[in-house]
């Protein structure tokens, strides 16, 4: 018990003031996970809107596929991205393996079904009504898009929060494609895993606290946006 408290004390000491290394890890975590969330949203939000508004043959199949994708283990996505970006893979020429770029791609793929499925579920009740209202009042294509985004903003933000929360805490996949290279691809989760395995509990605890704070901070920020 004592060593836990001691770890916590030392962990807190490491954060006040934070070292350059900690700051760099936090910064990279934010950049990678926020970029991945953004990328997933660029794909997921229009997909959800499309699925909520359009009736087409095979729609249920597509929705089913999105929901099934929620259950795909992160490590599998890691494997797929690894094969894609490894030197012999189809994207090998881009030399993305063990770079933040690869981590962003993998995390975006992980977040995409989460954002799509959650946005779709929340949009179901509002998309058709919003479309009917805007079109009946004579909205053009751009005005319709604006109306849908405005009315769906709660749905989208909720989906973004869930997506971000999932990927900022992801470890195995990020390690596979990022490599946890100090100063280059080391993020909060991979750093915690490494330090803990090395026996440096106090660093692990310190970074764990930071991870929680980051997740909390982003959630608060997004919820504040929702309230606006």
């Amino acid at each position: 018990m004592d060593y836990l408290l001691e770890g916590l004390r030392q962990g807190l000491a490491l954060l006040f003031p934070p070292s350059r290394e900690v700051l760099q890890i936090v910064g990279l975590s934010l950049v990678v996970s926020l970029s991945a969330t953004l990328l997933a949203a660029i794909g997921g939000v229009p997909t959800a809107l499309f699925l909520a508004l359009k009736e087409f043959r095979g729609k249920r199949l597509v929705v089913g596929a999105v929901n099934t994708a929620l259950a795909v283990p992160a490590v599998l996505i890691g494997l797929v991205v690894y094969t894609l970006v490894s030197r012999r893979g189809p994207l090998g020429a881009l030399a993305l393996l063990y770079t933040p770029g690869a981590m962003i791609i993998a995390q975006a793929l992980l977040a995409f079904p989460i954002i799509t499925a959650l946005a779709l579920a929340a949009l179901k009740g509002i998309a058709r009504d919003t479309r009917d209202l805007a079109l009946s009042l004579g909205a053009n294509r751009r005005q319709l898009a604006v109306a849908l985004i405005r009315q769906g903003r709660f749905a989208f933000l909720t989906a973004l929060i869930a997506g971000f929360s999932r990927i900022v805490g992801e470890t195995g996949m990020t390690l596979m494609v990022g490599g946890n290279i100090k100063g280059q691809t080391r993020v909060l989760t991979t750093a915690i895993a490494l330090e803990t395995m090395k026996g440096n509990f106090e660093i692990g605890i310190a970074l764990g606290i930071v991870l929680l704070l980051v997740a909390l901070g982003i959630n608060i920020a997004l919820q504040w946006l929702q309230g606006k």
């Binding site: 009917d132 209202l133 079109l135 009946s136 009042l137 004579g138 909205a139 053009n140 294509r141 005005q143």
Partner: protein, 356 residues
């Protein structure tokens, strides 16, 4: 005045056909009432006319312009000539004024104070502009929807049961607004299953059932001389008595097994249904001497207060008639449940429909 003509219009939801080849022309600059039971296809038809959905087949012509020939911007331009009032009000979060301003902004129509005040007063919502739109009563929400459309001043109004389940004041407000719009030359398509409203507002009635046009015509024509039992049941649900048609001593009659009703008809035999409008039946305490051929004595089984008039259910030897009396006669005749009354109506007031 916009003329709407539809040709063999079809729509389906999955494998279920909703409109099965509808062809008709609405009267420009008039209130066209689309009547029919639930599931007849009224909402589906209005949504197609509002260019909110695409038909599975057929064509809509707006002033001669085919809907299928319109490109995206053409459809938007056409929608701007059309106003749609949804059965379930679609309002945005925000105040009444913000809802009106949103519509104005979409169309770059300056929703200034005068315009807003005008449409609010025309829908009986004057002074409500700062209220939260979604907290209005059902009737007020519906009036706001209408006000929002009126602000945009379209040529064609598509009204989908705008008064269903509303309070009487809101119904009155909306009906008055509709009449005023019709007078100003707007083409109005009103889906309803409120008969009193149809009688009050319609210049032309289109009766739909199962996605088909059953009858089209003036109000009297459709409601008093329905060509099918469907319409009769729907429109005069009050008094439909079926039985065997017979002929004796120079008169045609319908024998229900309980009573015998004289009818003015060329028919001599077969099964039939007698349709008698409640307002064609005279109610008195004692049988009256009259040239009317049908007179029955019965007991008042129930009284329903409809406001200006009261509706009575009168049991005549087992056939229950619905009749209307004014409040004045109701009080003068001391009518209550259990009292015996005489019902009198002419043979010519009976509309006889054959039953196959």
């Amino acid at each position: 005045m916009m003329e709407i003509r539809i040709e063999n219009l079809q729509q389906a939801a999955g494998k279920q056909a909703i409109l099965r080849g509808l062809s008709l022309t609405f009267q420009p600059g008039a209130v066209n009432v689309i009547l029919g039971p639930n599931g007849a296809g009224k909402t589906t038809l209005l949504r197609l006319l509002g260019l909110l959905d695409s038909p599975a087949g057929g064509e809509i012509h707006y002033d001669g312009a085919a809907a299928s020939a319109l490109d995206r911007s053409g459809r938007t331009a056409m929608r701007r000539r059309i106003g749609f009032v949804f059965q379930a009000p679609l309002l945005l979060a925000g105040t009444v004024r913000q809802n009106l301003e949103y519509a104005g902004r979409l169309r770059r129509i300056a929703a200034d104070r005068r315009g807003i005040d005008r449409v609010l007063s025309e829908t009986g919502l004057a002074g409500r502009e700062d209220q939260e739109a979604r907290q209005l009563s059902g009737g007020e929400k519906q009036r706001l929807q209408l006000a929002r459309v009126m602000l945009l001043d379209p040529e064609l109004y598509l009204l989908d049961e705008p008064t269903a389940n509303l309070d009487p004041l809101s119904v009155k407000n909306i009906e008055v607004a509709i009449q005023r719009l019709a007078k100003s030359g707007k083409t109005i398509l009103l889906a309803t299953h409120n008969l009193i409203q149809a009688r009050l507002l319609a210049e032309r009635i289109f009766f739909l059932k199962d996605g088909r046009l059953v009858q089209e015509g003036g109000v009297e024509e459709v409601l008093s001389r329905p060509i099918s039992l469907d319409i009769a049941e729907f429109s005069a649900a009050e008094n439909i008595i079926s039985g065997d048609i017979g002929f004796s001593e120079g008169v045609t009659f319908l024998d229900s097994g309980k009573i015998r009703i004289e009818v003015a008809s060329e028919k001599r035999s077969g099964r039939g249904a007698a349709v008698i409008r409640p307002e064609d039946i005279l109610v008195s305490r004692q049988p009256i001497a009259s040239s009317a051929r049908n007179s029955f004595v019965g007991r008042i089984a129930a009284v329903v207060d409809l406001g200006v008039v009261l509706s009575l259910s009168v049991d005549c030897s087992g056939e229950v008639f619905t009749v209307f009396v004014t409040r004045h006669s109701f009080e003068q005749m001391n009518l209550v449940a259990g009292v015996d009354v005489a019902l009198t109506f002419k043979a010519t007031a009976v509309h006889l429909l054959p039953i196959e």
